[in-house]
Homo-oligomer: 401 residues x 2
């Protein structure tokens, strides 16, 4: 129904056609090789619509006939699958210490990976753009079979990104303001470009390939150094008025509590972002051997290993963090009433099942009964780097629009 | 794009058609008498779509030709307006101490009002249903001109309401569980019935007649005895997986803080619901003359008058409450990135401009710059009872679906 907020009937029917293409292609990706009648059954679309959409996808070279299925008496039904050589997609995870580019075939299988470090001080837009262009060029050379066109390059970068103007307006540690990043990238990269941030990249990855696929309302909780909540409402990413929805990390968990890097107090991130968790460790057990000074990832890994091994300090930190995280996730459940909450990013991956179990318990304590009953809480099933996968998915969506 | 989450192409195009009818009718309500070309310009729909939709609305008797406009040289353009005698709508605000029914014409002007008290102890579903049927019958007799059909009755009742089954599953003080309310009402009321809760009623009232009209993403913050946040995303009410989205009142403002009537601690409602505000008053100035024991509305009115008159205790309570409310509203701004936040319900109406001003200041302190920049914060412009208006709007929406 959100079409009601769009700009006109032509717009609305264009959105519907794009949404139908997404839906059919998501199903071919999930189930291919698959027949048209099976696609119609799985998507709820009419056979006529499926025939139209698959015809378009076939003409564009995205989908191919991968075989035939005997149908009782009638003529054999074609089985459709993604055409791996129909095109390649590149996803770039641009972070403050590295540029990570991956080249995917149309089944979103990784064909090549290039990771270039950014040294401290290598933080100017021109330099980061050059490094990105280099990573894209290398991953293209390394991975794309001759003659396979690159359909697009998705770039996910931290901070707040204005998709339309392609302007990066904020990056926490880089201190960029109003950088026309899309224009800078376009000077060096000869493919169609799509720019957004890692939160929305992981959200779109969950929508296409993960736990949000086929769900109407989902929340993707990113737990890393920073934290955020990607919102997939009505089967599409909710962006908000200025493409900055999802700043759950800077919602209040403790009014007047811990100071946060955003300058405010008591933000969710200051408790359950990796530095917040480490601060909790130093509060629970000052001087603990689990602490790896200067090594955030190492400390979280030590906590994860410790809680799995029954170390009492690690168990206590898990308990405190899961309680805080559970309260904050319960807020999302109460406010948005989603079908699924997906825990994603490196802290969730590292801590895994014990964190999931403890968070489920805590959400059960904090959420109201009715929204709780319809909210499944899971770990992200996406393998590999969800940010570069999601960035490549922006390029795939772009090719379908 | 949320059509992607729907159930099929037929469903999707039905939703589009319904959304187009809503859009055209909202514009006729706002601007009528208005010409078809002006409707096309205002809604962004094509002239052909506007012609189709207005044709339907005219055939159903909802819209009439109210005059003609000279157009340079061509044939005069018909001016369309709601047909006041095309039908009547009834909205019921069912609360724990009264049943309030209003009869509206199709311009949503109030034609008659009936308010029946519910005495303490009159809390059984059968009795409340009988009282509701009585109010509907009386308001119908009092207000509807002969021959004007009642197109539907919308009923808003507190708690969590399952719209499809029409079952009330929870009402805080009534302690109803799994009551098949829609079925009970249908035995006594001979019109089409639409059931939902007051939060969604005020949200739909803002979407059609208030500050959310024409906005893509809006949040309606209800400030009363209970508090909640109605979400209007993509131009339509966001309901969530089990029609219980919006429970912002039971999201955490102070982890481990004040105990809340929901059994948890530190909920937003325990600070900025009317009883929470009164508790703050007793903390700030025990024994204050502003306190009207046993009279929630009287105490809030005294606080409002006091802060307007410069009373230091009242000013201090306003400051504390606005700070808490600002932090909680900033959470909505950061998470959802809305175009507008509407302060609604009786506490907002009573406190008015001083509260608005203080809340704007506090949101400015707590929200991130980018989502803050696109979020307007306003008092609800809806006059009268937004709950019965919204309930009647459910009936209007039902007549259009
Ligand atoms: Zn913060
Ligand atoms: Zn509560």
């Amino acid at each position: 129904m959100s079409a009601a907020g769009g700009r006109g009937a032509r717009d609305a029917s264009r959105l519907i056609r794009t949404a139908n293409r997404y839906r059919v292609l998501r199903q071919v990706l999930a189930d291919g090789p698959v027949s048209r009648p099976a696609l119609a059954a799985a998507t709820g679309l009419s056979r006529a619509t499926v025939a139209t959409v698959t015809g378009e996808l076939h003409r564009r070279g995205l989908v191919r006939v991968a075989g035939f299925e005997d149908s009782a008496g009638g003529r054999p039904a074609a089985l459709l699958a993604m055409d791996p050589v129909g095109g390649a997609l590149i996803g770039v995870d641009m972070a403050e210490t590295y540029v990570h580019a991956e080249l995917f075939d149309l089944t979103l299988r990784v064909l090549a990976t290039v990771r270039l470090p950014l040294a401290p001080g290598e933080d100017g837009p021109e330099l980061v753009v050059e490094r990105t262009a280099e990573a894209v060029s290398r991953v293209r050379e390394r991975g794309a079979p001759p003659g396979v066109p690159v359909l697009g390059v998705g770039v996910a970068m931290p901070g707040m990104v204005d998709r339309e103007g392609g302007v990066s307006v904020f990056a926490a540690n880089w201190d960029w303001h109003g950088v026309p990043l899309l224009g800078l990238l376009a000077r060096h990269i000869p493919y169609r470009l799509y720019l957004d941030n890692p939160l929305r990249a992981t959200t779109v990855a969950e929508l296409w390939f993960g736990a949000a696929r086929g769900r109407r309302d989902a929340v993707v909780v990113n737990l890393g150094t920073g934290v955020g909540a990607g919102l997939a409402l009505g089967g599409a990413v909710h962006r908000g008025a200025s493409n900055s929805a999802g700043e759950w990390g800077h919602t209040t968990l403790v009014h007047g509590g811990r100071s946060c890097r955003c300058g405010r107090h008591g933000c969710v991130e200051s408790y359950v972002g990796a530095p917040g968790i480490i601060r909790t460790l130093t509060e629970v057990a000052p001087g603990s051997a689990l602490l790896r000074p200067g090594d955030q990832m190492g400390t979280i890994a030590a906590l994860a290993a410790g809680s799995a091994a029954g170390d009492p300090v690690a168990r206590r930190v898990l308990e405190v963090c899961a309680d805080q995280l559970g309260a904050a996730v319960a807020d999302l459940v109460n406010l948005l009433n989603p079908e699924v909450v997906v825990l994603s990013s490196w802290v969730a991956r590292e801590w895994g099942a014990p964190l999931l179990e403890a968070v489920r318990g805590a959400v059960g304590r904090y959420a109201l009964g009715r929204p709780l009953a319809s909210a499944e809480i899971v770990l992200s099933p996406v393998e590999g780097d969800p940010v570069s996968l999601g960035a490549a998915t922006f390029a795939l969506e772009g090719a379908l629009a």
